[in-house]
Amino acid sequence: MTDYKALEKQIQDQARQWLESGEVKYVIGFEKGDNSPVCRPVFIYKPEDAGKLAWGPLCNNNLTKYLVEEVQIKPKKGEEPDLRPVGIVVKPCDSKTIVELMKENIVPRERVKIIGVISEGTINPKALDKALKDVPLDKIAGIQILDGGDNFTIKYDGEPLSVPKDELLNGKCKVCVVHNPVVYDIFVGDKVTQIDKDEFEDIADLEAMSDEERYEYWKEQLSKCIRCYACRDTCPLCYCEECVFDRTKPYNWNEKTVDLPENFFYHMVRAMHLAGRCVDCGGCERVCPMDIPIRKLNRFLLKRAKERFKVVPGINVEDKAMFGDYDIDDPGEGIK
């Protein structure tokens, strides 16, 4: 059971200390929303603002996207770049992203100071809305959520609610096996005992389909896509200086048209570009306005990477890139 308040205090204290000493430029974290219990990203520059930092099961964003933007900013001409590290608050899944970003030479370790927080799962805001359907609207922003083991206890000035975790947790959290941050400067929370297996049960139904059935499934899902590129823009691993989908004629591989073939092309390429890299932080699916189950594609990638290439992304900085590695004794047919 996680004591969110205790973790929040530790986060605030650490951020305050770093900002006071000036060893970080600023701290990226979460703060309470104005009219919603859902937390939003915040950038804390001054030690006196550290008290704004919040922690709870509604800290959903993967903040490492901002880290990528920080390291990719080019200093203005004649300006000395401020290369001090940036502080960041991460959940275990976000910390896996940092491992990938370090592996790919995007974020140098010395440019970041990590407050790694344990996580036993975050709440899907849409599921929360459902659970709060009987709570008066003006009370919602003020609710307090406590970890009650198998349940979340939702307190507000009324009869407290007890909702089974299974009803509220994000899909990614239900299958997650990494509950402790893998890379951090400060470890916040008590180490969670981890189960070391992922059987990919959540995609078993898709796996069981015939090719034709699966094609029909994706046809239905991907025809919903409006190509807003939110999934790409929120992904910390989509850091290309120029995305292939932003190319203009005559250098473009696909057209901007929103139709099924172009949508398929976009989503397949996006998926392939993340193969062996995606750590299933779930950001893409969280931001999709059309409720496309993008994570299911990512989960396929994770499963194939694990089974066929023995690659589990986001664990070890020393691991080689799946598509960059070449084994002269590859057991695969025809490759030696």
Binding site: R247, P250, A321, I328
Partner: protein
């Protein structure tokens, strides 16, 4: 821009299926096409002249030839357009033979439409082709030969004879390899050592050869013409400058006659300080670090007796491995082979029954320099009945599917030697097919049969079992009566070296399904590997007998000498290049590059054009398309795809 399109009939290879006149006519309607023609054989002199004349008269800027695979004639046509004053890289080829007429022989109309599409795509790409300049780099006038068996010896001698410095690296203490272990050679029955040792001595004496025995290649960097090779000279614990090869140390060694002798297939014994065989080159002693008491425990009596025995003061137990670097222009790999271990097939009883030995063990048994001084004996007795079993580990669906090519003949040789040395002996050969295809082989096989050797045929799938019976072994072969034999000799397969993975990693050359190194073309380029400047000699490419090994080794020497003699090499300008603004510096291309041609400099990829072989792996892995291949850029490929999908582009 003026593009010329030339459609080839290839006799009837193309025109038999594709309406070439229609294709040529269609090409005229394509953008930028100034002229379009068809001809019987575009690659013939008149065909080439047709193209050259048009380039000169019409001022063509780009040429498209629609004919066979670029593997076949791209170099031909590149030269043609170059001779007419056009840049060779403004030429594009459409493959309407392998990709079209041959594949769609029974669909003439559709094949013609497809040929038009292929031409359309090539014209679209040609319009975007830019002239590229060839570059030249100087060649280091030296060669490296890896492996000192007969293949390596032959190669080294021939390159050295051509006047180039040659480094011969051998991992064991002496050159000679497998051939040094053989007694006689089929079919002429020459003494193996008698024909080999003079060549070994030639190697040692040759002013152009630097011999590095007991050494291993641990790293190769660079590219054809400019390789840097790292060699580990393993510590011999003997100063080879001082050692005179007298052998007093081995006499004095506390482990004299107590260490298994690998040269004699462990049938004999040696000391911990040893030369592998009396004619070893160099005749310098080596201490076996796995066995030497002093090296293992730091103590050998009051002082090691070898040190006391050595009048030349050559022994140095403190010697350490030495790493050296060599600069060479070309490399020949002649790492040889290992033999199949028959204990993997328990039915033969090898390793359990004393009477069962391998062909190579028989070689040592019958050799005058072997542990029995050439006297064939088993359990201290001369055998009266000898059974040879062929195809052990070869032609095996579960193991090595290939035929090892030498076993039929060496078994015939062994059978002959038994009859020769033990006149009354009964000799039976269990064979499947006798493959006597070489010069003088069939005659030799007939001669051996005439000498009274009994050949019994058995199918490969038929069961066979060898069981022990007192001091004899019973061979039970399906379909044949059991034979009680004094000696059973297994003709074991030739296999790739067991430690090949280590060598492969250093060489970065590929292996085939049979685990042997892969030549680039099995018929026309049998000595070339996919890495230019690295060639194959002898059995590392596949099983061979001595004549074939020597022939291939000579071929590899000739191949390796060509760049050295030319002094410089043209680099293919179709290399990759980086669009710096788009590069995020993730380094995936660096990891993907098999030639170590890409480096990250200040967070951006940078290509070394001399190292780049234009394989395109980098551009295939780059997510943002920031690294591109000249002559196959995204823009060029996209224009091909788009043109194929639309009537207009």
């Amino acid at each position: 821009m003026k593009i010329g399109v030339y459609v080839c009939e290839c006799g009837t290879n193309i025109s038999g299926t594709v309406d070439v006149a229609d294709v040529a006519e269609y090409a005229k309607s394509l953008p930028n096409v100034a002229v379009s023609k068809y001809y019987k054989y575009m690659c013939s002199d008149p065909g080439q002249l047709l193209i050259k004349d048009d380039i000169k008269e019409l001022g063509l800027t780009h040429v498209v030839v629609a004919s066979c695979s670029p593997r076949m004639h791209e170099p031909t046509f590149r030269t043609v357009v170059e001779e007419a004053g056009m840049n060779a890289y403004c030429f594009e080829m459409a493959n309407i033979r392998e990709h079209c007429s041959w594949a769609h022989m029974h669909e003439k109309f559709k094949a013609t439409e497809k040929a038009k599409d292929l031409v359309k795509m090539s014209v679209a790409k040609a319009a975007l082709l830019e002239p590229l300049e060839k570059k030249q780099v100087p060649v280091t006038p030296a060669a490296l030969v890896i492996g000192g068996g007969i293949a390596g010896i032959q190669t080294a001698l021939e390159i050295a004879e051509s006047g180039f410095k040659t480094y011969l690296v051998e991992s064991t203490p002496s050159i000679g390899g497998r051939m040094a272990q053989l007694d006689k050679t089929f079919p002429t029955m020459d003494c193996s050592a008698c024909i080999l040792t003079p060549k070994m001595v030639d190697v040692a004496r040759h002013p152009n050869i630097e011999l590095l025995t007991y050494s291993e290649v641990t790293g190769i960097d660079g590219y054809i013409g400019n390789f840097t090779v790292t060699v580990k000279k393993k510590a011999r614990y003997v100063d080879i400058e001082k050692c005179v090869g007298c052998g007093l140390c081995a006499e004095a060694c506390r482990l004299k006659d107590r260490v298994d002798d690998e040269f004699n297939e462990n049938l004999g014994k040696r000391s911990a300080i040893y030369v592998p065989f009396p004619q070893a080159v160099p005749l310098k002693y080596t201490i076996d670090p796995e066995k030497c008491i002093f090296l293992k425990t730091g103590k050998c009596g009051d002082s090691p007796p070898c040190v006391g025995a050595c009048a030349a003061d050559a022994i140095n137990h403190q010697q350490e491995d030495e790493i050296i670097e060599l600069d060479v222009g070309t490399i020949v790999v002649a790492t040889g082979f290992d033999l199949y271990d028959p204990s993997q097939k328990p039915e033969y009883g090898y390793g359990k029954i004393k009477n069962v030995i391998t062909g190579m063990e028989f070689e040592r048994l019958v050799s005058a320099s072997g542990p029995t001084e050439g006297h064939i004996e088993i359990n201290g007795k001369e055998p009266e009945k000898v059974v040879f079993i062929q195809c052990v580990g070869s032609r095996d669906k579960e193991g090595n599917e290939y035929c090892s090519r030498v076993c039929c003949m060496y078994t015939a040789k062994h059978a002959h030697l038994v009859r020769d040395k033990i006149p009354g002996a009964e000799v039976i050969v269990y064979n499947t097919d006798v493959r006597a295809y070489g010069k003088g082989f069939e005659e030799f096989y007939v001669r051996v049969m005439d000498e009274g050797v009994k050949y019994l045929r058995r199918e490969l799938d038929d069961q066979i079992e060898v069981v022990e019976n007192g001091d004899k072994a019973i061979v039970k072969a399906e379909g044949h009566p059991d034979i009680e034999a004094d000696l059973v000799v297994l003709a074991t397969a030739i296999e790739q070296k067991k430690d090949i993975a280590d060598i492969s990693k250093v060489l970065k050359i590929s292996r085939g399904a049979d685990n042997f190194f892969l030549e680039i073309h099995p018929k026309l380029r049998p000595m070339d590997t996919a890495t230019s400047g690295i060639f194959l000699g002898g059995c590392c490419q596949g099983p061979k007998d001595i004549p074939d090994t020597v022939a291939q080794a000579s071929g590899a020497a000739a191949k390796a000498t060509i760049p050295l003699a030319q002094g410089k090499i043209d680099l293919d300008p179709q290399t990759s290049f980086v669009i710096e603004n788009n590069c995020a510096g993730c380094g995936l291309c660096v990891e993907a590059c098999p030639y170590s041609a890409i480096e990250l400099m200040d967070g951006k990829a940078e290509v070394n054009e001399a190292l780049c072989r234009g394989c395109g792996l980098c551009s295939a892995t780059c997510r943002s398309g920031a690294i591109q291949l000249k002559g196959l850029t995204d823009h060029q490929l996209i224009s091909m795809i788009k043109s194929s999908l639309s009537e207009v582009f």
